[in-house]
């Protein structure tokens, strides 16, 4: 991993936003999750140096930040692809053909759920209920939700990602 100079990791805008988040709460630690998500918006994931940076901005030991970061599945503590695809595999989607969608998307990308394509284009995740069972089987492509999906439609969607 390439280490960057301290402070050069995050943009000034992100740092200001993280500091502003503190004002929403009587206790600075409450801002940890929103701050980590802000980091992730900028870097795609949360490298250890960024945890330290968040700790500095919120006056918290890095251990506290790391402890929180490692608990939540949508804080990425490993690098992810340029696009993150979250495929629902819970019951309502399962009953509506999510397994076929998953197999087809895995074939299209050449990776299994939980993996990133070698060109770092797409990270595919099999996730729990997305609360969109009226669109089952469904998936999130970055921030956008799609469904109901056929295996072919899902494969097309991930193929078109640049």
């Amino acid at each position: 991993m390439r280490l960057r100079e301290e402070g050069a990791l995050l943009s000034e805008g992100a740092k200001r936003e993280i500091e502003a988040l503190r004002a929403r709460y009587p206790v600075a630690q409450s801002a940890v999750l929103p701050a980590l998500l802000r980091v992730q918006e900028e870097l795609g994931w949360v490298p250890p140096e960024a945890m330290a940076e968040v700790g500095r901005l919120l006056d918290l030991p890095v251990e506290v930040v790391a402890e929180v970061a490692s608990f939540y599945s949508l804080i990425f503590t490993e690098p992810v692809g340029r696009h993150v695809v979250q495929l629902c595999t819970n019951v309502s989607c399962l009953l509506s053909g999510a397994e076929a969608v998953r197999e087809r998307v895995e074939r299209e990308l050449g990776v299994r759920a939980g993996q990133t394509t070698p060109d770092r284009r797409v990270t595919l995740l099999a996730v729990e209920c997305l609360a969109a069972c009226d669109q089952a089987p469904c998936m999130l492509v970055n921030e956008r939700r799609y469904g109901p999906l056929t295996p072919e439609a899902a494969a097309r969607l991930v193929k078109e990602l640049d």
Partner: protein
């Protein structure tokens, strides 16, 4: 069929806009409350409407509000928008389609409980819902429905949206508060941590679900008698093997048969085999329960529950072993690891179900599963682990033949019997 209440305007394309919401009667309840009603009178209306929490536990809302000590100088309102119970999508529907309804409900609940700061804890995956709600909050501030001196009164309120980051257990109320405090979402011990007395930052905290708060403007505006005459209105998320899965608004106590019909009937004209009445944490019921009113009392009698009113429908072709295994896997994935019965139990249960599904089941596995279900009942720290036994029991009691068929067909019969003695302490330990 009466006109829907909670879903009345949810599909109007402009409903998320403040002016459209006002034109359709929005914020009239807040105006009325601030001008004519005391906080206690607002709580009384909610009480007379017999409103019960719509998040899963079904606790009477007014009683919850009255637990909050009146004289506490700092109190919080926390909105649970972490909808994650499998099969549930009604809060998301309300948030995306009618976000001002929630904002007005928040303002009313804050007024009733003398709260000045509210946080909406929303799961990360709700990108669209979050955009809609943040826009509604900004509009409400501009128009004077939030902020300092609301509508020229002394009442002030700030509302913030707080993101989750992928954790089902954060929907459990005390785990949600831990998460909101910037910690791992692990549940707290009750007592002493009843949110109403020792909630967010150890201050008294009112914690309500999105749908619950969306009921409040209607109750205040039209009165509790009117509310009860409407059913009372209840949102059922109907999904699975139905032709058009959707949120159905129907009077509380509607049967699964009627709900399935409202959702377009069963796909391919097939028959129902089973259905979850209240998300995967409830005990799944079989076709003979299609005419049971889906209400708290009736479902409790069957060892099930209304929960989040997520009706997941499974037709006659459904492999119940597979469904139950998938449900148990979900709880294993989402177990926070704090207590042993849940952390270990979910692993054992899924391992056994997995080998049954993959042709390596043993005849004694069903007894093992029963033993695990027994040992995960009443022993877990929070409701997450306790959500596994209802599915297991239904599997072993109502769909046992499907499990037995898998085991009979097992490819590698196992000679050595394996037994778990979870009930008795180990010798010397």
């Amino acid at each position: 069929m009466p006109q829907p209440v909670l879903l009345r305007h949810v599909r109007e394309p402009d409903q998320a806009d403040l002016h459209a919401y006002e034109r359709r009667g929005g914020y009239a309840a807040l105006r009325r409350a601030l001008r004519e009603l005391s906080p206690e009178q607002v709580t009384d209306l909610v009480d007379r409407a017999q409103l019960r929490g719509r998040g899963g536990a079904g606790f009477p809302t007014a009683r919850k509000w009255r637990f909050v000590p009146k004289d506490a100088p700092v109190k919080y309102l926390v909105v649970n928008a972490d909808e994650g119970e499998p099969g549930t999508f009604k809060d998301r529907t309300l948030l995306e389609g009618d976000p001002h309804l929630l904002v007005e409900g928040i303002a009313l609940a804050a007024y009733a409980n003398d709260v000045r700061t509210a946080y909406v804890y929303m799961r990360r995956e709700f990108y669209q819902a979050r955009r809609q709600l943040e826009r509604a909050i900004a509009q409400a501030y501009e128009r004077g429905y939030l902020g300092q001196g609301i509508l020229g009164t002394e009442f002030s309120l700030d509302v913030y949206v707080h993101p989750g980051a992928g954790s089902y257990i954060a929907g459990e109320e005390t785990a949600l508060l831990e998460s909101l405090e910037g910690k791992r979402a692990m549940p707290r011990l009750k007592p002493p941590y009843f949110p109403a007395v020792m909630g967010l930052y150890s201050k008294p905290t009112v914690l309500n679900n999105v749908e619950t708060l969306c009921c409040v403007p209607w109750i205040v505006r039209e009165g509790p008698e009117w509310w009860l005459e409407q059913g009372p209105p209840q949102l059922y998320s109907v999904s699975g093997h139905v032709n058009s899965p959707q949120v159905v608004e129907a009077p509380l106590g509607t049967t699964a048969r009627e709900l399935i019909e409202r959702a377009g009937g069963i796909r391919g004209g097939r028959q129902v085999k089973a259905f979850y009445p209240g998300g995967t944490s409830s005990r799944p019921l079989s076709a003979r329960h299609l005419d049971v009113p889906l209400r708290h009392e009736e479902l409790a009698k069957l060892g099930s529950m209304l929960g989040s009113a997520a009706v997941i429908v499974m037709d006659e072709t459904t492999d119940m072993v597979k469904v139950i295994a998938r449900v148990c896997e979900f709880y294993r994935e989402e177990s926070c690891g704090k207590c042993t019965p849940c952390r270990e139990g979910t692993v054992w249960v899924t391992q056994i179900l997995d080998r049954i599904l993959h042709g390596r089941g043993r005849p004694e596995d069903l007894d093992l599963l029963e033993s695990l279900a027994r040992n995960m009942t009443g022993t877990c720290f929070c409701p997450l682990g306790e959500s596994v036994p209802p599915s297991l029991r239904a599997g072993l009691e109502d769909f046992r033949d499907e499990f037995e068929a898998y085991i009979r067909a097992a490819r590698e019969p196992v000679q050595m019997p394996v037994r778990l003695h979870l009930g008795a302490p180990a010798p010397g330990g």
